[in-house]
Symmetry: C2
Subunit: 394 residues, 2 copies
């Protein structure tokens, strides 16, 4: 692990029109009618970038929607290439013969509204002046993300998803899919997610946002005309570091880094304030890695969407909201998750069971913390495959 | 809870010579000889600010040393006054008839070396030019803090402490007292502390430091000549917010804040990026509160000292280090502590028991997280009083 150079950082790691598309495809809607977001503003010419794997069958009954997490995108499976800096975030899960078997299923993954990998977001050109939205982009919610994804269904010829699956923020979308579109979903699988963001989750997100705002290169969100290397990378890097610690666990950090020094040579006889332990170098490495492929404004907006996540909002109560979910559910928790502790997935199962929805809970026994949903595919594959294999009413 | 104004913030919240001393007294040493810190540099004219409660008895056998945590200071007990913005951080613990009964004990608490409440630290005038040390202040370690405190003993006429007590970073000092000065200590009580900072603890500290460094008003540590309101308060505030979340717990945040909105009126129909939930307002409030009474450079230095905390350093092994502790020990853990989890205090007890030192472990059952050592005096009073009441060999 060599420290990446910071002088070659892009102003934004967003994918922009004109960049190599990779596997992405695009669907644009609301060119005639404006798309009203929940927070009270509107968007026009909304593009959703998506990828698909496998073939839709003749009755369009084998479609599965995968929902990505905070810094994920449509590239759930496949190699890194010119269009995608990183390999698919669930590459070992989706493919021929894998748990989500693309010989059997037609798999779709969309970049979320407000994202930065092809879907309309703050780095996208504003339809009126062609300049990046920047600070003009509205706050969006998980519900807005799901409503935008739903526009894609007729375009793909899909009436209902066999299953909607996602971890973390993906799991928030899964719940909103089941509640908002009970007749367009036949099964849901929320992983390491919650029904409402807790105060602690909001706190972590808010601290990261404050770090980005503190970066003078963020410039209120209108930084896209900056010189290369002069974007708000340091704020974004710090925000990512906060998240990265909450994504893992004390045990794994101890096992992996302990008290190893990164700047070993300089630690000899004198101590200096900015000498780093190995864990600091790891966090910086991951922060810079994100800066290369993500946009600070998208990070802010998607984080805010997670804070606003509350399936009960304007629906009376949690129970009233969850009662709208009538299809089978498998909630999956991770034993060592400090960010979305497993009690939150058990609550999903309990409330669904309480309202009479067929629901199960499965727990992954992993030391890896929240990120286990990206790491422990060994433990996820079986319950996911079994849930997909369930008998459907004919 | 009204949001404090930020325009009236001091450049530094450090106590400086000329400010009202409050209860503080001062002891200065190394005016002739330089005080070499562990990291390889030296300090001259080192001042330690301290406070005392009760009377030293004729045989000087009733002295107790209290060691403070990260943002604590010598004001462990007593009111807020012109010299102390906040009341004593253990005010309900130390006093006549309290668990640490000042009718019986002579209690001492020192501001740590590198601190900002009267002891020599980065905001102090450099003895050569009278200007604040700023970036010239060396990195100090927990061992340096303890060695500086030890200089006070002959000044006060104390040969050995009956007990050294402290929570969090105070507990790190307690362990170093037992290891460095086995004949000057007759009992130790480390609370919510550890023998070595873990990778996760280092990570949290490092992220806060990065936020301070990102603040352009920090100016590499040499900001003391700034105009009022133009100090690095925003970076310090964010650093404090990171710490504040780790000091508490998910449960307490949920119970206290849930998803309450702070900027309620503006949340009506539209969502904006910087609208706040109540938990965000709470974090900002605590951040600003710290800025008023603390110095950003001290925050950096003391955080680094905690990261460097490792009782095994240059002592062969943990066991070899801990074997030097020969006096009775009571380690106290907190059930909900996510920052210094209770397994770390159990480890202290286990290793001391293993090497044959009389040791016990006691756990506080509290939802309040790490800060329970400042909150649950109800549960701490009894084990502390009982430990102080132990029979000593005559």
């Amino acid at each position: 692990m060599t420290d990446p150079p910071t002088d070659a950082l892009p102003v934004t790691g967003a994918w922009l029109p004109g960049d190599p598309p990779g596997r992405r495809r695009f669907f644009t809607f609301a060119s005639d009618r404006r798309f009203a977001v929940e927070g009270g503003r509107t968007l026009s010419d909304v593009t959703i970038a998506y990828e698909t794997w496998g073939e839709l069958d003749e009755t369009a009954s084998n479609a599965i929607l995968i929902c990505h997490a905070w810094t994920g995108d449509s590239h759930a499976a496949g190699r890194a290439d010119r269009g995608h800096l990183a390999p698919g975030w669930w590459d070992g899960m989706i493919g021929p013969g894998l748990a989500i078997d693309t010989n059997r299923w037609f798999v779709v993954c969309c970049n979320v509204l407000g994202g930065c990998q092809g879907s309309t977001g703050p780095a996208s050109p504003h339809p009126v002046d062609g300049k990046p939205y920047g600070s003009r982009f509205p706050v969006v919610t998980i519900r807005d993300m799901v409503r935008a994804q739903a526009r894609l269904m007729p375009h793909l010829g899909i009436d209902s998803w066999h299953t909607v699956i996602g971890g973390s923020m993906g799991g928030m979308q899964v719940l909103e899919w089941g509640i908002t579109y009970p007749r367009r979903v036949r099964g849901i699988m929320p992983i390491a997610a919650c029904m409402q963001a807790t105060a602690q989750q909001i706190a972590w997100g808010a601290i990261g946002r404050r770090a980005i705002r503190l970066d003078p290169r963020w410039r209120g969100g209108d930084y896209y005309d900056a010189d290369p290397g002069d974007g708000p990378w340091e704020g974004l890097e710090i925000a990512r570091q906060v998240a990265q610690v909450t994504f893992r666990s004390d045990n794994v950090f101890t096992d992996r880094f302990g008290r190893e020094l990164a700047d070993r040579s300089s630690f000899g006889d004198t101590y200096e304030l900015w000498q780093r332990f190995e864990v600091e170098r790891y966090l910086e490495y991951h922060g810079i890695k994100l800066v290369r492929r993500f946009d600070a404004n998208s990070y802010l907006l998607i984080g805010k969407a997670m804070d606003l996540h509350d399936v009960a909002r304007n629906r009376g109560s949690l129970t009233a909201a969850m009662r709208r979910i009538t299809v089978p559910s498998l909630a999956i928790g991770i034993s060592s998750d400090m960010l979305y502790p497993s009690y939150q997935q058990r609550q999903i199962d309990e409330i669904l069971t309480h309202v009479g929805t067929p629901s199960h809970y499965h727990e992954i026994d992993s030391p890896h913390g929240h990120d286990a949903f990206l790491i422990n595919l060994d433990q996820l594959a079986e319950p996911i495959a079994a849930f997909l294999d369930r008998a459907e009413p004919s």
